[in-house]
Symmetry: C2
Subunit: 522 residues, 2 copies
Amino acid sequence: MAITNHLENFCPKTVEAFVQKAEALTPTLIQKTVFPVSLGTVFWLDDDWVYQKKEPIAALNGKSFGKGERICVDFGDHRVGYLSFTLSSIGSPPDAPAYLRLKFGEKPCEIGEESENYQGSISSSWIQEETLHVDVLPASVRLPRRYAFRYLEILIKDTSPKYRVTFSDIRCETVTSADIRNVSPLDLKDADLIDMDRISIKTMEDCMQSVFEDGPKRDRRLWIGDLRLQALANYRTFQNYDLVKRCLYLFAGLTQNRGRVGACLFLEPKPMVDDTALFDYSLFFVSCLFDYYKETGDRETLLELWDTAYRQIELSSERIGEHGVVLDSDDWWCFLDWNDELNKQAGAQAVFLYTLKQARYLAEEIGDADRLHRIDTSLLWLAKGAKEVLWDETEGFFVSGTKRQISWASQVWFVLAGVFEKSQNQALLRRLLEKRPKVGMVTPYMYHHFIEALFCCEMRKEAIDQMKRYWGGMVKEGADCFYEIYDPDRKDFSPYGSKIIHSYCHAWSGTPTYFIRKYVIP
Amino acid sequence: MAITNHLENFCPKTVEAFVQKAEALTPTLIQKTVFPVSLGTVFWLDDDWVYQKKEPIAALNGKSFGKGERICVDFGDHRVGYLSFTLSSIGSPPDAPAYLRLKFGEKPCEIGEESENYQGSISSSWIQEETLHVDVLPASVRLPRRYAFRYLEILIKDTSPKYRVTFSDIRCETVTSADIRNVSPLDLKDADLIDMDRISIKTMEDCMQSVFEDGPKRDRRLWIGDLRLQALANYRTFQNYDLVKRCLYLFAGLTQNRGRVGACLFLEPKPMVDDTALFDYSLFFVSCLFDYYKETGDRETLLELWDTAYRQIELSSERIGEHGVVLDSDDWWCFLDWNDELNKQAGAQAVFLYTLKQARYLAEEIGDADRLHRIDTSLLWLAKGAKEVLWDETEGFFVSGTKRQISWASQVWFVLAGVFEKSQNQALLRRLLEKRPKVGMVTPYMYHHFIEALFCCEMRKEAIDQMKRYWGGMVKEGADCFYEIYDPDRKDFSPYGSKIIHSYCHAWSGTPTYFIRKYVIP
């Protein structure tokens, strides 16, 4: 996610005990040393940049490079970590610094495109490119920043006429808090699903750092929308419960005005909540806690964080209008999907219903009769509002906003909210697949909810077909990890104005393993 | 200096004991914290880039900067050291790295010119420009490289729409091995000479690091040609005798094939001799030792290094042809000056005579009768060759090469060599000033020898006039230090194809203080 709204009169509230509890759960990162596997070149082919292997990496021995020359190496798979290499010289003693430019790419386009030409809406500071003067050779160069990449290009901007440089021991120290040994083997024959499972686990692994990051290239932050999906996949794979618990305590310990859970947290220089607030994202604190408790039965955490969760219900209730419908507005108040055309009212209403039901379960579990009662009242009121105001019987779809927009997102979320019976929901989804409203889904994040809705309605075949069409499209493209943004019908689509700024290993895209391991395997 | 020749079959020879002695003399650098004095802008005015102060540096408080904006600060004088600053943000928590470009300039042209357009002959890697991503704000940023500069420009390449950056505590930790407290006050009324003395001391101070560097911006190395002049100025000012001794032991401990003293040494990663060999530069080891001994009376060092010194005489003798004249050649065998048109034969002959006389003194001092005898033989033989082959009685000038070139450098060096009597030398210099041969002097290094020749011939007025015309020209230009390259008649002259690569604080230009304190003050 990359959002640019912010709260007025931002006044964050810290619960020190929660933050300390979270900090005590900071994981020790697992490090591994990996090496590039080949030397090659990146060039434009048909309609995209591609990497072509030229030689095995061993061919780097004995090669030397002068001004204007470059090397491009492939690390064989997506990597998140710290680059180092030895830079030496041949010829006369170096009489001028070596001047290098390094470009890191999750995809070849990041190497191929000239960064100077970037004009996208997201900060160019995310482009993984550095220039570097090395004054003394030979040198052990270790770049201090963490990169997410598979391809590395080093351009020799200059040496001097008296010497050339050589490279050796190019390596990456990868980092993750995900322990791959905890992932059980997959008992499945379907090759497409096996690929999807593997890539989605790799995506999750590379996003699991000191918190669940949304993407290790960009934004490297803890977004609650991503966290919710990461936690679900994590429960089926790495089972790092402490990392989820840490993130829950961070969100609860670092809230915005009036105890509102923020959309995301920064970890450095110290944990703090961003000033971005989103209706759905605040409510997802309830979901995250619900899922965590269902998975772990950790009652102590539930009891400690219940007030924070319930506070989101209270604050969200303030946005309910007189007919039991969430008030719409023109500002950036709710996320749902990266689609500028999407009206959020219906989706927000459904998310509220969805999380109210989870809150109800937790209230019952705790025995919080008073809040249980209030939740029940809200559930009735909101369900009534949904059916009477947002449901269009003639169209057979939920509508959203004053222009009564019919979108995929609204239908999917109302299925998940369970306003109707299963048979009605199935009919709604079939109608959706048949009529294909114009306002579609653009992110894997929204596709996740679509697949979840299909599985919930026992439309297993449709769910798997959709997964194969959507994530399978990325697999066919040769994805190492699943992308932040993917539209199978518009491969060059970018909401940011340039594909080089996309995150090609993005947590919210990594849930196929969750679906496969929860719904597909026997 | 920046030279691109190199020796075939390079096989350096190390005398470990000498190197260890040199290393034991490594100075502790004196550190000082300095701050910028103003905020301003660099722009093109008439025929050069200029810096204009806009506000005092205190005005930086309260200013913030976004994408594409820049600050330019003036540190008030030339600085050699390490830059640090605090980078903070205002607005929302930084949701993308801060991306900066830093340019350091000894002169405003280095800020004003676009480095990408540089096409000069010297490596662009010397251009003091960095790009930097700062992931976490606020940050204490300290750049690891040492810079030589007065002006610093920071361009904010990007932040994000959510935040702007602020700068505070911009500072430079300067380093030098020169202790200014050792420099005695100058008892002089002439304002021009006072300025020249001050600037030349500043030049020397900034070039004195772990060795006598030629220039702290470029090449940051120990060249023996520069060392010789630096030592002379040092004896009259900082009196850091150990630093000269250290450099002598380094040159003697790290020789080239057959014990030849190299033209320059590298200090990192460990001291080593470059593969550049120059006839005059090897012989200047004798001069450096001579000057050091005359200044300090350090007999132990003289005794230890005498063999190395005499070895340069022996090796240089191999280049003497049958008429007692140094053999000329088309390769880059002798330096003298940065003038491509200059034929080096006569100058080399004179340098050999000049250093033979110094070697004679040392041999006598030591009581090395055998070598003394051989030196005397050589002196006669070379003086005869000079007078019979290189002296043109009709022209009244020394000529050089098969084309019998008449240059300033040849006359100046023969005056210093003392082939003729003082009255003849005076006449030669007056003729030189009158006839003004076309092949002139282009570096302060060559001008140094011209001024020295004038003082030696008791042409005090002419010497001071020439100093005022030459170094005085730099003073009028507002020089903080004296430049590597300066031609008062061609201000835009560059032997490298671009003025931004010039070193504007260069040791070989810093000898006015030597002349003033040796010859001018009572």
